[in-house]
């Protein structure tokens, strides 16, 4: 590492975090990769190349226990007591329990297709829509409510809570109290629901977890919240980034209208090309660790620039090209190692269904604004709105 790169890299990181560069941070990520591992002025270590990130995420001397645990990080944080912020063995136990009550097989697909179809039906008669507000935002809430076992009639109460809590991840002044209130209301609601399921078991994750030995109502609510929050913003961004990318690649959008099976590799490429989680700042070194020729001292915070690694030319040939036919595409869009995205199976299917339905049914969709307005958040990066014009709905 030369003296010059060590001094310039913090500047590059600051530019990535700067909202002015939200629409296209990738040239900056390429600069970041010139020093695969470097020490930022605040003492944390920033890692931006594929091999080095891969090694750290499989290294048991790296944990999330020190800085994890709370909102605003990783795949959206999950609030206290959720496994995303835990190290093994506690992480493994909770995650394993949740896995056994979380349905991610193809069985969930028909419900997803129905929900997506209804949202598109609602666009009838409109010539301008917002892919975010009209489609990508409501879809995951409905899907996760079904997963958790929130009764259908209660679902409308869930949408504003989810929105308020998630807004908190992308802070703007004056909304903190609304978020806190929504959070408290949702916790209260979920706790009551869990209590009800204890006496009258039903379908879904909350009921299933409530029946597990040693799971307090608080534990069940924490896991439920994690899945709602971690799975929401990321899925919204995956769908929105997907539609934006397709509108920028009209030939591929056209193919998707006819080739349904293209959706599978296309979503994988999307997870590499525009990953919903761009940076994970939660890891820390439990001991001295050497990676990429740099010694990271025990106790240091480690920031993983996943979006940079996904475009590492030493791992992915021609990395800035969006290529749904790309082979050997083991991207970091869902992380790797033990914190590999818990809801990956669900998110994949949601994005496949969502993009296929949008491609199939929107007639002549056109971008109204390129780039679209982005959310503040540099970590969970995605457009706040994606206004498009359509000729109609098929």
């Amino acid at each position: 590492m030369t003296e010059q790169t060590t001094t310039s890299q913090p500047g590059v990181l600051a530019q990535i975090l700067d909202y002015a560069n939200r629409a296209d941070p990738y040239p900056l990520y390429a600069q970041l990769r010139k020093s695969p591992v470097f020490r930022a002025p605040n003492g944390s270590y920033v890692v931006s190349t594929y091999r080095e990130i891969w090694a750290l995420m499989h290294d048991p001397r790296i944990g999330v226990g020190a800085f994890g645990g709370n909102a605003g990080a990783g795949a959206g944080g999950g609030g206290p007591g959720s496994f995303i912020g835990m190290d093994p063995p506690a992480h493994d136990r909770l995650r394993r329990l949740a896995t056994s009550h979380f349905e991610q097989t193809e069985a969930v697909r028909p419900d997803m297709v129905r929900t997506a179809s209804e949202l598109i039906d609602n666009m009838r008669g409109k010539h301008q829509i917002d892919v975010v507000d009209d489609f990508a935002y409501p879809l995951p809430v409905t899907v996760i409510c079904q997963q958790l076992g929130v009764p259908h009639e209660d679902e409308p109460r869930f949408h504003p809570w989810a929105e308020a809590i998630i807004t908190q991840l992308d802070p703007r002044p004056g909304q903190e109290s609304a978020a806190a209130q929504a959070s408290a209301e949702m916790n209260q609601y979920m706790a009551e629901l869990v209590e009800r399921y204890r006496s009258e078991p039903g379908a879904g994750l909350l009921s299933g977890l409530a029946a597990e030995e040693g799971m307090s109502t608080q534990d069940v609510v924490a896991t439920g919240r994690l899945l709602l929050i971690a799975g929401h913003e990321t899925t919204v961004n995956l769908i929105t980034n997907g539609m934006l990318t397709l509108l920028r690649h009209p030939d591929i959008l056209e193919r998707l209208r006819h080739e349904e099976e293209l959706a599978i590799p296309l979503v994988e490429e999307l997870l590499r090309y525009e990953p919903p989680v761009q940076i994970n700042p939660k890891y820390s070194a439990l001991d001295d660790v050497e990676v990429g020729g740099v010694a990271i001292p025990k106790g240091s915070r480690i920031v993983l620039a996943l979006a940079a690694a996904n475009r590492d030319p030493n791992r992915f040939p021609d990395p800035d090209r969006f290529d749904p036919e790309r082979e050997d595409n083991e991207h970091l869009g869902f992380f790797t190692g033990i914190h590999y995205c818990f809801g990956a199976g669900l998110a994949r299917q949601e994005a496949q269904v969502a993009l296929t339905e949008l491609a199939r049914r929107l007639e002549n969709p056109r971008l109204l604004q390129d780039p679209p307005p982005y959310r503040q958040n540099p970590t969970l990066r995605g457009p706040r709105h994606l206004p498009i014009e359509i000729d109609g709905v098929g």
């Binding site: 090694a55 499989h58 290294d59 048991p60 001397r61 790296i62 944990g63 226990g65 190290d87 093994p88 063995p89 493994d92 439990l286 001991d287 001295d288 025990k298 190692g337 033990i338």
Partner: protein, 464 residues
């Protein structure tokens, strides 16, 4: 391709003896490497190459059909297949392979990939009883499935190595009463040692297996119709059974090389780290290669001891090295350096291993706990980490492979997630190699390339 192999690469004839995973992978790798000559695959079974790991798992429980184990084949392999015709001899001077049907195949280079077979029950009459089975090939599994479908009163599994344990697990999954007998003190003792084997013993018992260690089956007894009905143990007990699965480890298919002048014997076919086979004087040959279960080669990471590795990943990786070295001149040859790895799934637990556990004399749990059981155990020898075994913690294995490759100190001193309160270093408790048991999946075969006799190694204690 190097000039040295120009004529061979264009017009040569490669014969691959053994049409299973290693043989097929070598054939593919030869073509990928640009080999345009003639390619012949010889196999003793009538089937095209198939995958064996599912045979003791999904195929046995009915989750997968036997035919579904066929290995995908690269199109354009352009090979001649001699299936159902075992090789019976190799003429080193004349460069010919003799087949059972009397045919002879001349070769420029040959790959020996004849693998292993299940060690049969020693008493041939008892072995011939209906309901006495070994499991190695696809036909074996079909036979065992048929027996299990008949609803046996009890299944006896003789030998608690990986194959025996997986079969016992599948039988419990089918709800059948199972007894497992094992001569060593625990299941998996030969592969993982008695300390970790004790965890496997607990798992078996939790899953309802009637596990009996430290005992041997002395005889199997049939009814008038010739169906097995009873097993007699050396502790004097008799078991009422309808199926006996003989899982006593593997024997190497090297008999066909007897008198060939090659360094081949019951312990395998000795080859160098580049897969070139040694002759009976320990001189390396130029055109004879070996790969897969049948090969024993000196491993640079483990003191150049000759190891025979009965692992799926070994078959693939060694076949690729053999194919590469067949096609390349001396200066471009590659050594076979992979850290051995294998996996097993039994009693709801995924077990993975890297390195050579039987080389270790000490073991320490570095992550998790044997009580759950979810853990990473490291094996050490002379202050060096030589192996790692995980129970439901396979995601960490890659890190430990790097530790093994780097000859990391043992016991480790670093702090890591899920670290137990105390890192107590225990004896690994591998059984005395002189005790015949189910056979480990990594067989240490000594340092001599001309080792042909099946001599037992001295007890561990005697060597220190």
């Amino acid at each position: 391709m190097s000039p040295a192999n120009g004529a061979f690469g264009a017009n040569g004839h490669v014969v691959i003896v053994g049409a299973s995973l290693a043989g097929l992978r070598a054939a593919e790798a030869l073509r990928e490497g640009g080999f345009q000559g003639r390619l012949t695959l010889v196999g003793d079974e009538p089937y095209e190459p198939y995958d064996r790991p599912p045979l003791s798992k999904q195929v046995l429980t009915g989750q997968a059909a036997p035919e579904s184990t066929a290995l995908p084949r690269a199109s354009g392999l352009d090979a001649e297949w001699r299936l159902g015709t075992p090789a019976v001899g190799l003429d080193l001077a004349g460069k010919r392979v003799r087949l059972a049907d009397g045919d002879e195949l001349g070769f420029d280079r040959v790959l020996i990939a004849t693998g292993t077979r299940a060690r049969p029950w020693p008493n041939p009459e008892e072995a011939a009883l209906v309901g006495v089975v070994t499991v190695r090939g696809r036909d074996d599994t079909v036979r065992l499935r048929h027996e299990l479908a008949a609803g046996p009163r009890r299944v006896l599994v003789i030998g608690a190595g990986f194959t025996g344990s997986e079969i016992a697990s599948a039988c419990r999954g089918l709800g059948l009463p199972v007894t497992v007998t094992e001569r060593a003190a625990t299941p998996l003792a030969g592969a993982l040692g008695g300390t970790i084997g004790a965890v496997a013993a607990r798992l078996q018992r939790e899953y309802g297996v009637d596990l009996r260690c430290g005992v041997s089956v002395t005889s199997l007894e049939g009814d008038d119709a010739g169906h097995v009905r009873r097993a007699h143990l050396d502790d004097g007990t008799t078991l009422e059974i309808d199926v006996a699965v003989v899982a006593l480890g593997a024997q190497r298919n090297t008999e066909w090389l007897r008198n060939s002048g090659l360094g081949a014997g019951p312990r395998g076919v000795a080859c160098d780290a580049g897969c070139r086979v040694f002759d009976m004087y320990g001189i390396v040959t130029d055109d004879i290669f070996a790969a897969g279960d049948v090969a024993r080669s000196p491993h640079p990471l483990f003191g150049f001891e000759f190891l025979a590795l009965e692992h799926w990943s070994n078959a693939i990786e060694q076949a690729e090295v053999a194919a590469h070295n067949m096609l390349h001149a001396e200066s471009e040859r590659r050594p076979y350096l992979h850290v051995p790895t294998f996996w097993s799934f039994q009693f709801g637990v995924s077990i993975k291993s890297a390195g050579v556990p039987p080389l270790g004399d000490q073991v320490v749990i570095v992550q998790g706990s044997a009580d759950e059981p979810r853990f990473v155990a490291l094996y050490g020898h002379h202050g060096r980490t030589v192996a790692a075994v995980t129970f439901d913690q396979g995601k960490w294995l890659e890190f430990y492979v790097n530790q093994i490759e780097g000859a990391a100190p043992f016991p480790p001193q670093y702090r890591n997630v899920a670290q137990p309160e105390s890192r107590q270093v225990l004896q690994a408790e591998f059984p005395d190699p002189a005790l015949p048991t189910e056979g480990p999946m990594i067989v240490r075969t000594g340092h001599s390339p001309t080792e042909r006799a099946w001599t037992l190694m001295p007890a561990r204690g005697g060597r220190r």
